[in-house]
Symmetry: C2
């Protein structure tokens, strides 16, 4: 039975920053060598970052990333390094990993299964690999796989198992969604059991636009035992001593499961160290901690990787902006969070007090700018044209706030955050260029029900640590209102949020149709209204800023619908709904 | 030698409006029958419209479209009808056509090649078909194909040719881009020559979000003779008498080129009429007429299919807004076009006069709203926070205009049009929520050089018809300026537009890299500056409204780049450019 010390480099990479990514490979390879590792593996597309989208078509980037790979290979020593990169050959671009050892690129593996669903478009970019790579590393038989190769049945992972792999190293760029750690853990266990090999799973961390990568790297034995598991979101070098099963060598004909097999025997690797590494199994997170962690990580990285250091957001006194401010403070520190209250004639004193109290508790840089003078100037200017009424006048207030927020953003270089939640984004319950104006939308994929849950959880966390709760209780408990007209409440225009969120979860995330929703007991009139709101708000979502994906189906590239669309999911209706544009357009 | 009268129904369909689309099939089938046709064919995905994007996952839409298909089949008579629809079986969803005849669905064909590049994501939705369909229609052997099947070598089109097809009916949803008619015509000729069969190509018309379908249906003989060709953009029933080549029957084993062959002999069809139809070959359009026609068609359909009847746009007196107003008037009629001039302290009298003159010439509903009172109110409100300077103050003016435009849009139910061109969209030379605020962007894919060319062409067209030129000459000839600061000119901030557009064409549409641009003789400093502007404006484009695609690569789903991206296409640079945010953010 072979033993191997492996190191999984769970690291944050930056799309397009080849030098920085190569530097990460160098420094973490050094750390792995110091830790006595005999093999170190980095995440999917290490050198370019992931996903690079249409940058995959840039010859200059391809060439530059190959040069970095060659440089790293030339510098490689006894410790084999598994590193992801972009390759291209006659068949097209390749989502590839290379094995660097003793000055050379000794092996290359191309991703076989190319995901082309959800947020993924890999059939657009890559040609599928059709070869299995089996490395002899100090007497152990090690196979390589990339992300989706693990998720689909058969393919190169099954073939590697059949060919006698004792260890399968899977490099990943696996984005977070709620409870994905459970699914992922079960999947790795299943593949290990199917193959009879140990599985080493290394994932990236950090944010890349809408995607947050949650780490969760792990090593699992064929009997399902989790030998090691890394933290979520944080960078970590997971060093693990693994006892590998002795498995019969594969047939000599060089084929397995229909795939050609490349066999590569590496030269000497470092000896197995004498002192064992302690076992590392990270504590699982609660559902709220997991979601909150994803949003904080995604927000921190979006700000940092786009070269901002500070943010500005509007505080209304309500729960959404309170939660976003708290996330921003946790991500960036209070001194980098600028908050502004922009009261109108309809803002309650309670709301203003709640906003001020939140700013005080968290230490944000807080200012107050009343909007009434601008609102009046517009009304005056438009009076000769008939003036503004109803929703138009409500939207105006939101747009004055949006303009002020962007002025502060432009003048002081803060990234503007929006505060809309998924229930609002879904129903179009927002004003374009008003409250939806900004560069990053931290909670756009968080349903309102979960907004409350996260706020309560964050306050409880503070209490657990003996700190003042971050969010004033009134912001959590008061009935939600946009405060754009006298006495206005969300409940006047939307169904209760528990009902709304249940319908949205079914309709948006799981394509449950209208008939089935009615069969489940929802009021048909409410179902019809919600579906119409969602369908007709597509034009607003197209102009919305990005935010971190935390659900199974976030709006955006996860859910691609035409704006021009007369399909209405009811048994009888057709054409556009009677209200063409929803509230607050 | 068999003869057949075929009818190609070049029609505009609406995504999701199944009843309306089915009604189009019924009425145009009736027209084809009256014209003596022996076969009528409709465009790709006739019943659902095209492309339906993630609506392909909706069970309710699938079921409803199948019911419409069955109803149409039940009503079918002697005239065989080739109609596109959405199917689904164990392998997945299918981009399908059915042959309806004498009360039944007699054959089904599934698209074999699924485009997954450019604007297309069909690998996300559909499973590829793997069978060839050969129909015996009154003694003639007719094969079916769908769009991409024609564009790729081999596949079911080549197999159908090898199996003895005498006529290949290709149904299409082929979006417009510049000069595509030339490429398309050459392609159909090549396939006809390769196969030895007559090719009948039917395309849809109208707009669907960013895509404009330009018709251009045609029938081509194996020797390359164009037997008939329909108009661009307009609906048309193209009725053609074709002499079909006698071709040897295929092998009897039911396979051709590796594909299984479904052979279906239809029952009696109408007799070949005694009176021949006159030949119809539409006159080709000039480059400018073609582009202008696409934008007008796309604009008309976006407005109409989204249930608007009128539009509102800002007139600056400059060329961009002048062209957009002219397009809107041509698309919707002057009485549906509302224009507003919003002068600031920096607006020249000439600009105001040019705007008024354009409104007068075209008969738009024109109003003037000076923005100074609002601008001053904002400055006053922000003074305690340090006030606004430079670009922030420029952006403020644009956002006041955006807010006024949206107020008029909301209050009066007009769709707001934006007036930015592709050169501006590319370089981020616009203000988010300011001049980029609106629901539809008619010229967002038109480079500035082409804006001038289209304006001159449209004026010349008017002159040719003895009408007053639509656009005042001063709007065309004066140096472009945003007029957001005293004496400001575009030329202060951007390279000359001929240089800029040449670089943009290469970098954006053809992935020409920096080194090659320099090798072509462009000033390296200018190239670097343009590339940086393009790269760092991605965040603005994500929040921009849609507009019609007219180039080979429009911004949007044609070109998918991360916002977070530190790749800089220069031999030495890395990381973010020194100017993180371009002008006018």
């Amino acid at each position: 039975m072979a033993r191997l010390r492996i190191a999984l480099a769970q690291v944050d990479l930056t799309v397009g920053d080849l030098d920085a990514n190569a530097a990460v490979v160098r420094s973490w390879t050094g750390r792995a060598a110091e830790a006595g590792a005999q093999l170190v593996a980095f995440p999917e597309m290490t050198l370019t970052g992931y996903p690079i989208e249409d940058l995959a078509f840039r010859r200059s980037l391809l060439d530059a990333n190959k040069r970095r790979l060659d440089t790293l290979a030339a510098a490689s020593g006894d410790l084999p390094v598994v590193v992801g990169y972009l390759d291209r050959d006659a068949a097209g671009a390749r989502n590839a990993v290379a094995v660097l050892h003793r000055g050379e690129v000794r092996a290359r593996y191309f991703k076989h299964y190319l995901p082309n669903y959800g947020v993924f478009d890999e059939a657009r970019y890559f040609a599928p690999g059709d070869r299995v790579v089996l490395l002899d590393v100090g007497g152990a038989t090690v196979a390589l796989a990339i992300c989706e190769d693990l998720w689909q049945d058969g393919g190169t992972v099954a073939a590697a198992g059949a060919a006698g792999a004792e260890l399968v190293v899977v490099v990943n760029g696996s984005p977070y969604e709620r409870n994905k750690d459970d699914v992922r853990g079960a999947l790795v266990k299943r593949r290990a059991a199917e193959s009879g090999a140990v599985f080493a799973y290394v994932n990236t961390t950090g944010g890349q636009d809408e995607l947050v990568f949650d780490g969760d790297s792990m090593v699992v034995a064929p009997d399902g035992t989790v030998l090691a598991r890394a933290d979520r979101y944080d960078d970590e070098l997971l060093v693990v001593d693994v006892d590998l099963p002795s498995r019969p060598a594969a047939s000599a004909d060089g084929f397995a499961g229909g795939f050609a097999v490349d066999r590569v025997t590496l030269g000497p690797v470092p000896p197995f160290p004498e002192t064992p590494v302690p076992q590392r199994i990270a504590t699982p997170l609660s559902d709220e901690a997991e979601v909150y962690g994803a949003i904080v990580a995604g927000t921190r990285d979006y700000v940092r990787k786009n070269a901002f250091t500070s943010v500005v957001l509007a505080l209304s006194g309500g729960i959404d902006s309170a939660l976003v401010a708290t996330i921003a403070v946790d991500a960036l520190g209070a001194s980098n969070v600028h908050t502004v209250a922009m009261p109108s004639a309809y803002s309650s004193q309670g709301s203003l007090d709640d906003a001020a109290e939140l700013a005080t508790r968290q230490g944000t840089r807080h200012v107050v700018v009343p909007i009434q003078p601008m609102v009046e100037a517009y009304h005056e200017a438009l009076k000769p044209l008939g003036g503004l009424s109803g929703l138009s006048a409500e939207n105006l207030q939101a747009r004055v706030r949006g303009t002020l927020l962007m002025a502060l953003s432009n003048e002081h270089g803060h990234l503007a955050l929006t505060t809309g939640n998924k229930s609002e984004v879904a129903t179009g319950f927002s004003t374009l260029y008003g409250d939806s104006a900004g560069g990053w939308a931290p909670i756009r994929d968080v349903p309102k029900s979960l907004v409350w849950a996260l706020a309560r959880w964050r306050n409880a966390e503070a209490a657990r640590r003996g700190e003042t709760p971050r969010i004033p209780e009134a912001s959590i408990t008061k009935p939600p209102s946009a405060e754009l007209a006298p006495g206005q409440l969300d409940a006047d225009r939307l169904p209760p949020y528990d009902v709304l969120d249940a319908i949205l979860d079914a309709y948006v995330e799981r394509d449950v149709d209208r008939e089935e929703l009615v069969a489940q007991g929802f009021d048909p009139a409410v179902v019809d209204r919600v579906i119409r709101l969602v369908d007709t708000a597509e034009f607003k979502r197209r102009q919305a800023p990005p935010g971190p994906k935390i659900t199974a189906r976030a709006f955006g590239r996860d859910r691609r619908l035409p704006i021009t669309n007369r399909w209405v999911d009811t048994p009888t209706a057709r054409g556009l709904p009677e209200t063409v544009r929803p509230e607050g357009s």
